[in-house]
Each structure stands twice: as structure tokens, then as C-alpha cells.
């Protein structure tokens, strides 16, 4: 009996160690997301960590986007949690862009947005089906007016 208890203790110790050793950090996710963004120039990262909930909880950020710039928004999920992140870009109450296209049901790892109005915009991040999740969103610059 004592041996069985020790076996479980040993397993739990090693399992605990390996879980910590291989969990993805936010910085690793930023790196992966940067690769997804490709040639675009990195501007800003957004770290998203949400619990499960119904309706799905939302993590919100605000950014100034500038006229004449083509931006790229890329997202990537932590492999350690179930949640699949969805990004929505809004201007007041208008949905301007999203990584989840409802019409096709397709999720895109990155989307491009051509901005024609300098101003404050809102980024809404949530996880599909209200699952808990850990993810990173990246804002990058693809090109400026005139073709940079």
C-alpha cells in the first residue's frame, strides 16, 4: 500500500515538472504570432487570458490606427488551453474586421485591414463557445500609402 502511494507521489512530481517545463509562455506565443504575420513589421502585442463563461467573456484593447496604413492582425492560441481566439475590430459600434468570417465559418490566422480614417479603434478578443483560453494578438504594419 505504501509503495502504491509512493508511486502516485512520484508520478505526480514528474508530471508536475513536465507540465511546467513545456507550457507555452506569452513571449513564445508572441514569437509564433510574429511568424504567422510574416513580412509585416511588428507594432504591438496583446496578451489575452480569459476564463470560460456564457456569454463568452471579452478582453478589450483600444488602438489608434492611421489613415493610409495597411495593418495586419494576427492571432495565435496557446496549445495548453482549449479556447480558440476570435478577434473583432470595431469602430464605435461597427464591426470593421474579424478573424472569424461568419458567412464561411472560416477562422483566419491573420487578416489585413486598410485604414482610411485616423482614429481610435477597439479590439475585442474572445474565445469560441466561451471556453477558457490563452492567446496572443499581434498588430503589424504591412505597408504605408505609396507602398513602403
Amino acid at each position: 500500500m505504501k509503495n502504491i502511494a509512493l508511486f502516485f507521489l512520484l508520478t505526480a512530481g514528474i508530471f508536475g515538472y513536465s507540465t511546467v517545463a513545456y507550457s507555452q509562455s506569452e513571449d513564445e506565443l508572441v514569437e509564433i504570432c510574429g511568424m504567422i504575420a510574416g513580412e509585416a513589421t511588428f507594432l504591438k502585442d496583446f496578451k489575452i487570458r480569459l476564463d470560460s463563461g456564457d456569454p463568452p467573456p471579452i478582453q478589450r484593447f483600444s488602438v489608434i490606427l492611421k489613415k493610409g496604413i495597411k495593418y495586419r492582425f494576427s492571432v495565435c492560441n496557446s496549445k495548453d488551453q482549449d479556447g480558440k481566439v476570435v478577434l473583432q475590430l470595431l469602430d464605435n459600434n461597427r464591426l470593421l474586421a474579424t478573424t472569424h468570417i461568419v458567412a464561411t465559418g472560416k477562422d483566419w490566422p491573420f487578416i489585413d485591414y486598410v485604414c482610411t480614417k485616423t482614429g481610435a479603434y477597439h479590439l475585442f478578443f474572445s474565445f469560441k463557445d466561451g471556453k477558457s483560453g490563452l492567446a496572443v494578438g499581434l498588430l503589424s504594419l504591412v505597408e504605408a500609402e505609396g507602398g513602403s
Binding site: 508536475g16 513589421t41 486598410v114 504594419l141 513602403s148
Partner: protein
């Protein structure tokens, strides 16, 4: 035998703990040393985390530079701030403003791929970041190596940007959001200054428009600064910036709202094109007054 098993268990748990320690050093999100929180010599105002999270990300040192380069306007070293005043930035406030100004200049230099000139700015930024106890997020050695060897210049831009983002996050998480806002103000002012100098030399209509658009950016920045107006240094900065804000009263920005963008898929990339139309109108007199005011405030800040 049982002793060995117990030893293995203890070893596993100890290793697990050590791993957690080492990952915390690189994870700016969760680990905030108490001495940094306590040892803040900048008169600070604690702002709730939810307010911090709602702060608009106002300024990037890269976008203005990208716009200028995209218009095929040649690089000009004379536009950049002189780093010789760095050592005279004696307070946290001045260091933060300087960090923003030089950060914007680094964005301009990186955009035009001028690694040799970047080194001077790297040194100043590194020194100012150390002075604000955020030097650990600025990978000076790597950046200097890349700039010196002129290797993979794209990564120079990426690492610089990431360093500034880490500093920004860390300052917010350590109740030093006021410093973060001051850095942002420095970045914004230098980007604005660059636009004014470029306009004076190029008379480009798009740059003129960019100067007018700063009315929108500034209104967002002023909201951030107002949060910390109890700090006397920030109050003085607000007073200076208000002199620009008054001039913006004569700038008229009109927006014609378009339809919601429809996703266009081309070559495996989905793109949303905004259809709103924005126009900026201002007289030559107003433009001249804005340019003069921006340049005089920037001179005062750079020369400490």
C-alpha cells in the same frame, strides 16, 4: 529503495520550482519585484488596472516613419534629436520623455535601415531605460550586435519594438502607468516633429494632412495625460501641449462614413478595406503656427 523514490520526488518538485523561477525572469507579465513597486521615486498616481487596460495605444514610432518613407521622401539625419543631452535628463520624468523621443528616432532610423546611426540612439535608450529600472527589457547587447554587423536588420526593428512594448507593459503593471504615458507622449511629439520637418522640406500634401490628423491622436493622448495631471511634471507637459491643442481648434476634420468593409480574399490573404473618407482642412497660417509650436516644445524637451 523507498528513500530513493522520496528523493526523486523531492528532486522533481524542486526542479519544477526552479523552472518556474527561471521562467518568471523572462515573463514580465506575472513577476513584479516588490522593490520595483516600492522603490518608485517618481511622484505617481495609482490607477485601477481596468482603467490601465482601457488606455488607448496612441503612438508607435514606426507608422509615421513608414508613411514618410512610403512617400519616397529621402532620409535626413538633421531631423533627429541630438543625444548629447541624454546625461542631463536627471529626473524619471525627463528620462521617460527622452526615452520616447529617442525611441521614435530609432523607428525612423530602422525604417530607413541606418544601423550605424542606430548605435548612438541605442546607447542613449539603454542608459535612460536603466535609469527608469526597466533596462532588463532592453536587449542592448543583441541590438548593438545586429546594428554593428548589419545582420538581419528586420530583427533590429522587431526587437526594438518588442522592448518598448515590454517596458510599457511592465510600467503599467508596476503602478508606474504615469511613466508609460510620458514615454508615449515623447514618442508622439517626436513623430509629430518629424512630420513638421518633413513638410517644411517636401511640402507634401499627405504630410500636411498627417499634421492635421494629429488633432485626433492628441485628443486621445490628452485623455491619458489628464489621468495623471496631479503630477506636477505632467501638469506642466499638459500646459505645453494645450498650446498646440488650441491651434487645432482651427483644423477641421470631416468624415464621411462608408459601408462596413467586406472581406476580400486574394492569394490566400483576407483583406478588409475601410470605405470611410476623411478630409483635413486648415489654413496655411494655422499650419505654420502648429509647426512653430511643436518645434519649440520639442526643442525645450530635447535640450532638457
Amino acid at each position: 529503495m523507498i528513500r530513493y523514490i522520496i528523493l526523486i520526488c523531492i528532486g522533481s518538485i524542486a526542479l519544477s520550482s526552479c523552472n518556474r523561477c527561471s521562467s518568471e525572469k523572462t515573463d514580465s507579465w506575472n513577476d513584479i519585484p516588490q522593490e520595483v513597486i516600492d522603490g518608485n521615486n517618481f511622484e505617481d498616481i495609482v490607477v485601477p488596472v481596468d482603467v490601465i487596460n482601457q488606455m488607448v495605444n496612441v503612438s508607435s514610432p514606426v507608422e509615421t516613419a513608414a508613411l514618410i518613407k512610403g512617400l519616397k521622401i529621402p532620409f535626413n539625419r538633421d531631423y533627429l534629436a541630438d543625444t548629447k543631452f541624454t546625461n542631463s535628463y536627471s529626473t524619471s520624468f525627463k528620462k521617460a520623455l527622452g526615452l520616447g523621443v529617442f525611441g521614435a528616432d530609432m523607428g525612423y532610423l530602422n525604417m530607413y535601415e541606418k544601423p550605424t546611426l542606430v548605435i548612438d540612439y541605442l546607447s542613449s535608450v539603454n542608459s535612460l531605460a536603466d535609469g527608469l529600472q526597466v533596462g532588463q527589457f532592453f536587449d542592448f547587447k543583441t541590438l548593438k550586435r545586429i546594428a554593428t554587423n548589419k545582420e538581419n536588420l528586420d530583427s533590429l526593428m522587431v526587437i526594438s519594438q518588442q522592448s518598448f512594448n515590454k517596458i510599457d507593459n511592465y510600467l503599467k503593471q508596476t503602478n508606474r502607468g504615469s511613466l508609460s504615458v510620458v514615454i508615449i507622449a515623447g514618442v508622439w511629439l517626436e513623430g509629430f516633429y518629424l512630420s513638421t520637418r518633413v513638410y517644411q522640406d517636401s511640402r507634401h500634401s499627405r504630410i500636411r494632412e498627417t499634421i492635421g490628423e494629429q488633432k485626433i491622436v492628441m485628443s486621445n493622448l490628452m485623455v491619458l495625460l489628464e489621468i495623471f495631471k496631479k503630477d506636477s511634471n505632467i501638469a506642466a507637459l499638459i500646459k505645453d501641449f494645450n498650446e498646440i491643442k488650441v491651434l487645432f481648434n482651427d483644423v477641421v476634420i470631416t468624415v464621411v462614413m462608408g459601408e462596413e468593409p467586406i472581406p476580400i480574399v486574394k492569394n490566400g490573404v483576407v483583406t478588409f478595406i475601410q470605405s470611410d473618407k476623411q478630409t483635413v482642412e486648415m489654413s496655411d497660417e494655422t499650419l505654420g503656427a502648429i509647426i512653430e509650436k511643436v518645434q519649440s516644445i520639442r526643442k525645450k524637451i530635447v535640450e532638457g
